[in-house]
Symmetry: C3
Subunit: 203 residues, 3 copies
């Protein structure tokens, strides 16, 4: 089931990459490349940092195939209808939740402690989208005020680790952690929920 | 001969990095640093992902020396004459072709299958230029409409793999693959050849 | 003492990342994430390229803790007073010097020769700030004319290697190398000292 969730997360992030690249009017294969990078970027950085070789999509190229199919399906769909704005945001939130918790679960057995585990989960969830935004020459989503992006990932992973430490039966901690990420992201999108911003006016 | 081609590709990409950095009015050593990163960036990511250690330019620092010399030669040349626009485009196309096919050849013996091989060749060819563009605060070339950048690399690698699978004698597949990349890039530049673009008008 | 210097460098770069993120009005955890990436980014790339596993902050998460504390302290401080412009520049220069020389010292025993050692020290000193600038959607500091950023790092590392090769007693080469970096950066900031720029007007 974790495996199915990971594949679903890859598909969702590939679709978001295809949408971003399509908006910039890239050509067909350019869209596919951006979709792949968005979908596997975060997990790739995690695997390299953890020295977890070979990187997950090299060991299982099905992740690449899923990314390509999701990117093409996105392009076909958007030729017929406008992409539904909120359903994409919901899908992206689910992808973020699955990647953040999944990344933390992969980092945990390495035994580097909670700070490293939280950071690895956050990187897994966030880095692909950051690469997508940088390659699309947009301001990274994690930088936009009131998006609660990294914040949602960190809060969900911390919830997951605390519940696990309280010995909640498996898979409750993971499910609650994912739900926390999704709920925070959706609250940020729907109601403008946000963390305090500390404005710095240096010049 | 592959070795000579790799060195030539490094020199060509270093020159393109030096030109990009020079246009942004960076100072002398800044230009050299951008030139090195452009020249070795793609191969570095490939080696890290394939766990091919040490990274090629650490094992053979001659690649760094060639990058530095090419960057300095570019600066000296451009003090005297305007850089010839089309000859740079041709050189860049040749560099892309050599890096894409060379990267695929390096990835092949790892036995991860064609999808990973194509992606590794594409990364080798494209990533250095992407880093150059991001560091120069320009919109990445692979994003500009009608440039066929990633597309040319992918098409050439696929041609190479198909011809090899058809048992064409060495080195015909590699040469035809490289020629495909170069021809597609030049056709894109000269005649505006492009893949279909799927416009997405979300907002 | 090298250890204390490394920790101080991490704190200084984390503060600079927090300032950059705060200026972009990111929320609290976003600021912390950018601060961490700025502080450990350069050393992380160095460790991955040298295959020096596990990466330094995975082996010693105290670096992450120091980054987080420094980021929070920066936010608290800037709520009360304007951040002192020149003291930040001085601190950043000190951080650059410590990271450049420290990175070179870590690369040296791998025995890949002086060119690789200089590049590794430069990456260690410069890459974190580049990532910070790219994530903050600013033009990278190393690109801004007259900043002598990469130049100061390279000059200091070369001074360090030359003095070491002349068999100056330890730790004189490292201290002189660091001082060279700091002096060049401050001279660039205070008096506009700069390397020759080779303008390229291609179009």
């Amino acid at each position: 089931m974790l495996y199915a969730l990971q594949l679903l997360g890859v598909a969702v992030f590939a679709a978001s990459g295809a949408l971003a690249a399509g908006r910039r009017r890239m050509d067909l294969l350019g869209v596919v490349v951006i979709a792949i990078v968005t979908a596997v970027g975060g997990g790739t950085i995690r695997d390299v940092l953890l020295e977890r070789h070979p990187v997950f999509w090299i060991r299982e190229p099905v992740y690449l195939v899923v990314s390509i199919v999701a990117a093409l399906a996105t392009l076909v769909y958007t030729r017929r209808r406008r992409p539904p704005r909120n359903s994409l945001a919901v899908a992206d939130a689910i992808g973020l939740g699955m990647f953040a918790i999944g990344g933390a679960q992969i980092a945990e057995p390495f035994g580097y402690g909670p700070v490293v585990t939280v950071l690895m989960g956050t990187i897994t969830g966030v880095a692909g989208g950051v690469i997508r935004d940088v390659l699309s020459a947009e301001v990274p989503l994690i930088l936009r005020k009131g998006e609660l992006y990294a914040t949602a990932a960190i809060a969900g992973i911390v919830a997951y680790l605390v519940l696990e430490w309280m010995r909640l039966p498996h898979p409750a901690p993971a499910l609650i952690g994912m739900s926390t990420v999704v709920a925070l992201r959706l609250a940020a999108i729907l109601w403008g929920l946000e963390l305090p911003v500390i404005p710095i006016d240096e010049r």
